[in-house]
């Protein structure tokens, strides 16, 4: 009788696609091995409420805590074996001193590089991990418009904004395209826009193993079409010289480099090189029958086995000229 190696198996088509992205057997083996393990326990110190050194003193009384990135002391890794829900049910969490956030998801706000006076649009904001990170970098100054579509997600977002003491944010409820159209038609332009787009979630296998079961190639095509619309409308809300960061938690090129290539071909934008504390692999320039702009290689593929993280993708653009409404 054939024994199953893992609790959840990859669907053959999914595995075949991933093997194309990671042609080396040892590379794929390392990927496959890590995605069947649970994620690391990363938290982000909420500097709106407490300094990293003060939080460290509190947490070290009960857990072993590391700060893996000297330039980012707010990023902390709990290496103690934790019980279910222990991070979320700690006093320091209740008081909003930290946010439980996967390390790769912290990369998009770092790439966005928010500054205290900025006007920032966070198009898909719930549950608020990135919005609260942006607000902390802005020291509660400037303004964030944090948007999401569904009321249930808005409630989660609002609750996290309250807990973390964010005061510079306006929460809106709109379809992203409708929101960008309305903002553009009123000539409201942002210094920075974060498009953390809804995606097929291939990068979340460690925290959501059900993704192994739910993976479906049709969904990827649907998301890809939507994501191109989202980025196109998001550019309309960006000031000339402004920054747009596009990110997903998936590996599929249709949702990543294809969207980046679409943006580069259709809008007056420049893709920027990224300097992040995680290992990035360059974006790919060919996938199946499609060839992408060579500039897509400046985007960043974050693989779980390179960083002991979840999988992620991001790219950063600068808008060079005004876009017509």
């Amino acid at each position: 009788m054939e024994t199953r190696k893992w609790k959840y198996e990859m669907k053959p088509a999914f595995e075949s696609r991933l093997r194309k992205l990671m042609p080396s057997q040892s590379d794929f083996d390392a990927f496959e091995s890590i995605v069947h393990t649970g994620p690391e326990s990363f938290i982000r110190c909420n500097t709106l409420k407490i300094s990293p050194s003060d939080l460290l003193k509190k947490l070290e009384k009960k857990w072993t805590v590391k700060q893996p990135f000297p330039k980012h002391p707010e990023i902390m890794l709990i290496t103690t074996d934790l019980g279910p829900g222990e991070l979320g049910n700690a006093v320091e969490h209740i008081l909003g001193y930290y946010y439980v956030q996967e390390i790769s998801s912290m990369m998009s706000p770092l790439a966005l590089d928010p500054q205290p006076g900025d006007l920032i649009l966070d198009l898909f904001a719930s549950p608020g991990s990135k919005t609260t990170q942006i607000a902390a970098k802005m020291e509660n100054q400037g303004t964030i418009i944090a948007n999401d579509l569904k009321i249930g997600r808005i409630k989660i977002l609002s609750s996290n904004l309250e807990r973390t003491g964010v005061t510079n944010t306006i929460v809106t409820r709109h379809d992203a395209i409708s929101l960008c159209s309305r903002l553009a038609s009123h000539n409201i332009k942002f210094d920075k826009v974060l498009v953390d787009a809804p995606c097929s979630g291939e990068g979340t296998l460690r925290s959501s193993p059900k993704t192994f079961l739910m993976w479906n190639p049709k969904v990827i095509k649907k998301f890809s079409r939507q994501q191109k619309k989202f980025i196109a409308f998001a550019f309309k809300c960006l000031k000339v010289g402004g920054t747009l960061v596009y990110s997903t938690c998936t590996h599929s090129p249709e949702e990543n480099e294809s969207v980046i290539s679409f943006a580069l071909k259709n809008f007056p934008v420049k893709i920027e090189s990224l300097s992040l504390p995680l290992k990035c692999r360059p974006g790919i320039t060919k996938w199946e029958k499609e060839s992408y702009s060579s500039q897509t290689s400046k985007s960043c593929r974050i693989y779980p086995h390179d960083n002991n993280s979840e999988g992620f993708f991001l790219a950063k653009f600068t808008l060079l000229e005004e876009i017509e409404k």
Partner: protein
């Protein structure tokens, strides 16, 4: 969301009441009433006019942080003391770590104080607000912010 800015005269009155209760002398936020006597604090860079312009074509769900409920005495939200922590000088009840655990589980505090509102504190951490009925401090920790188990 209903947005009604608190006028400066009313803000002065609120500061005066908060001064009497907790020693607060300044609220460096734009205050707006969002319904049910709830007042929110906004620190963003947009002016009142810019916010009302946005309001005319956007569906704004919330803005800023829930700050106070207008009742007598004024009830600060769970998170408000943190915003003004450098100004809070009176009506503070210090508690122990053991009391904190009970408090964050939703238990009333077995401390006798004259009736009124009190800010609960462990060392330098403000952990919400309670109201004394002269025999215990009634717990005002919101249910979604309580410790479970």
């Amino acid at each position: 969301m209903k947005i009604q800015f608190i006028k400066s005269a009313e803000k002065k009155k609120l500061v005066s009441q908060l001064n009497e209760q907790f020693g607060i002398t300044n609220i460096p936020y734009l205050l707006l009433e969002s319904g049910k006597e709830k007042v929110r604090a906004f620190s963003g860079s947009l002016s009142k006019d810019e916010i009302m312009n946005l309001r005319s074509f956007l569906n704004i769900e919330t803005m800023g942080l829930y700050f106070i409920k207008k009742e007598t005495p004024i009830r600060l939200s769970f998170d408000a003391p943190h915003l003004l922590k450098d100004q809070i000088t009176k009506n503070i009840i210090p508690i122990s770590e053991e009391q904190l655990n009970d408090w964050l589980h939703g238990s009333d505090l077995q401390v006798v104080k004259p009736s009124g509102s009190y800010i609960i504190s462990l060392n330098n951490d403000f952990v919400g607000l309670g109201k004394s009925n002269s025999s215990v401090i009634l717990n005002h920790v919101p249910k979604d912010r309580r410790l479970k188990n």
